[in-house]
């Protein structure tokens, strides 16, 4: 996903002299390294200094450039939080802040590197758009959108590297502010976003094996959220399942439940997310997710699919 972002950024950047990237001492992956070589002036490394990474992006945008800030998710959003809020959101500047490794991707690095509340924090900010693609293909589309939009600040939440492509034959294209049906069914609707979509696909398989017809939705456009589309989904299906790699507070699971209540929908809603807890656990990404209860088997059991 990270590499796809880099490829697209390079492609767009070579033709758009206003596109630039500001990193805070993070090794640029793949094509970003090439971008640095080919366009050294439009690649800025502030060093280990995230506050000025955001501050400089704001200043660059105010003077007409189109900057991206790029580092590990916690350091793109948490460390320079007030700079994100005041400089980018309050002034409503079209700057994309790219967070690598949202959720608990950095599974051996401990709590300081887990962006487990990033969705809640980023969506709480007025003017901020939050986009979390689920695979390299979706990352490509949304990166193009980020590089050309003029609406305001965006938190682009990416995984790491090596995610499988899941959306190549999706039923619908990605559209900003809209839910995206990847497959369309009638009984159960599974909504997810980000790399954990992989588990949504696995749970969908279990439902299909149990003879149910399944819709899969990518909610890559986390904010603005497609309330209308969600309500339509709640009305169309008997069961809605939300699977997300984020803390419960501020999760889409809660949002969908609220929407269901307001709309008087009778659809049953189950949601799965990270625990509201600092887990002092280590291991690979799947092992960390399992520690939080986000394991396909456990989800299937909770949904009565055994």
């Amino acid at each position: 996903m990270r590499n796809k972002f880099a490829d697209v950024f390079y492609d767009l950047g070579k033709d758009d002299p206003k596109l630039c990237i500001v990193v805070a001492d993070i090794s640029p992956a793949g094509s970003i390294a090439k971008f640095r070589t080919d366009f050294p002036d439009r690649f800025v490394n502030t060093g280990v200094a995230e506050q000025i990474m955001i501050g400089m992006c704001a200043g660059l945008a105010q003077r007409g450039m189109r900057p991206f800030a790029y580092t590990i998710a916690t350091f793109t959003l948490y460390r320079p939080f007030e700079f994100v809020r005041d400089d980018l959101c309050y002034q409503n500047l079209p700057v994309t802040i790219v967070g690598i490794g949202g959720g608990v991707t950095y599974s051996t690095l401990g709590g300081t590197h887990h962006a487990q509340e990033d969705i809640a924090i980023a969506t709480a900010l007025p003017n901020m758009s939050v986009i979390a693609p689920c695979d390299p293909s979706e990352a490509e589309t949304v990166t193009r959108w980020c590089a050309t939009q003029t609406r305001g600040p965006v938190y682009l939440r990416l995984g790491k590297a090596g995610e499988p492509d899941l959306t190549l034959d999706a039923a619908e294209p990605w559209e900003f502010g809209k839910l995206r049906y990847l497959t369309k069914g009638d009984d159960v609707c599974i909504l997810s976003y980000g790399p954990i979509m992989k588990k949504a696909f696995e749970v969908a398989e279990r439902y299909r094996a149990a003879g149910q017809s399944v819709s899969l939705i990518s909610a890559a456009s986390v904010k603005p959220f497609d309330d209308e589309g969600a309500v339509a989904g709640l009305k169309r299906h008997k069961k809605m399942v939300v699977i997300e790699e984020t803390a419960p507070v501020g999760s889409l699971g809660l949002k969908i439940k609220a929407l269901a209540y307001e709309a008087g929908a009778t659809c049953d809603v189950s949601s799965f997310c990270l625990q509201d807890e600092f887990m002092h656990h280590y291991g690979n990404h799947d092992e960390l997710l399992a520690a939080h209860g986000l394991e396909t088997g456990a989800i299937a059991t909770a949904l009565g699919l055994d």
Binding site: V23, D25, I26, S27, P28, N45, T46, G47, V48, A49, E50, Q51, I52, T74, F75, R79, T108, L109, G110, G111, T112, H113, H280, H281, Y282, G283, E287, A291
Partner: protein, 275 residues
Amino acid sequence: MSETLSNVFDAGAARRRCLTYRRRILDISQQVGALHIAPAFSCTEIVDVVYNGLMRWDGEDTPDVILMSKGHGCMIQYVILEEKGILLREDLDLYCKPGGRLGAHPDYGVPGISASTGSLGHGMGLATGMAYGERLQDRDGQIYLVLSDGECQEGSTWEGAMMAGNLALENLIAFVDLNDFSGLERMSEGHPAFHPVIDKFLSFGWEGVEVNGHSADEIHEAVMNREGGKPLVVVSKTVKGKGVSYMEHVPIWHYRAPSPEEYKQACDELVEISA
């Protein structure tokens, strides 16, 4: 407990310890890929001097604190804590694995670990608070802070340094692991205004000294010979990846684990090390 610090420091013993520590870290690199070897090899002598030459020990207890602000260098701390019996072999066997309690960054609550670091630039504020806390309670705990040069790019490091200077915190002793590399590049090339770093500390009211950061006795002597009355910074010139030729000054070793062949070569090289 040794109440007064000894001026006698056995440099030969320190050299032998540091070789053993480096080899132990290499061993662990063969059981799990997630570790920062070069950052640990860069500050091996600094951390050794703090544990074995400066901190006062009564069995496993100490009134002093070592705070690894460059949390990603914690592997060196783990192997020293293992040697001291504060961590167990089993802890290191389960490093970064399910069921284990040691991750790639130090975690407060683990025996011997004074703060959860890993996000750079937190140590100076924490250490300033700890040092002032000692003063407020009429205790003489010495706070030894290990900083990377990279995190001296964070504004928060300098906010803390200014405050420590304001409070004249004599019991705060900071070591800058000045290997001239941050994660991405040589700082002298990418960020020339960063140097000389010692001047910045001096201007904030610190006492400062520059040493060879791979000479344990030079580091020890610098602390012994301080004037006092102010926080002390020991700016320690180091080599990232020190001791293994192919790791020295090569950025990828910031995070990479050696292959079995590379491991063997590293072990062969780690029989002698010059300061």
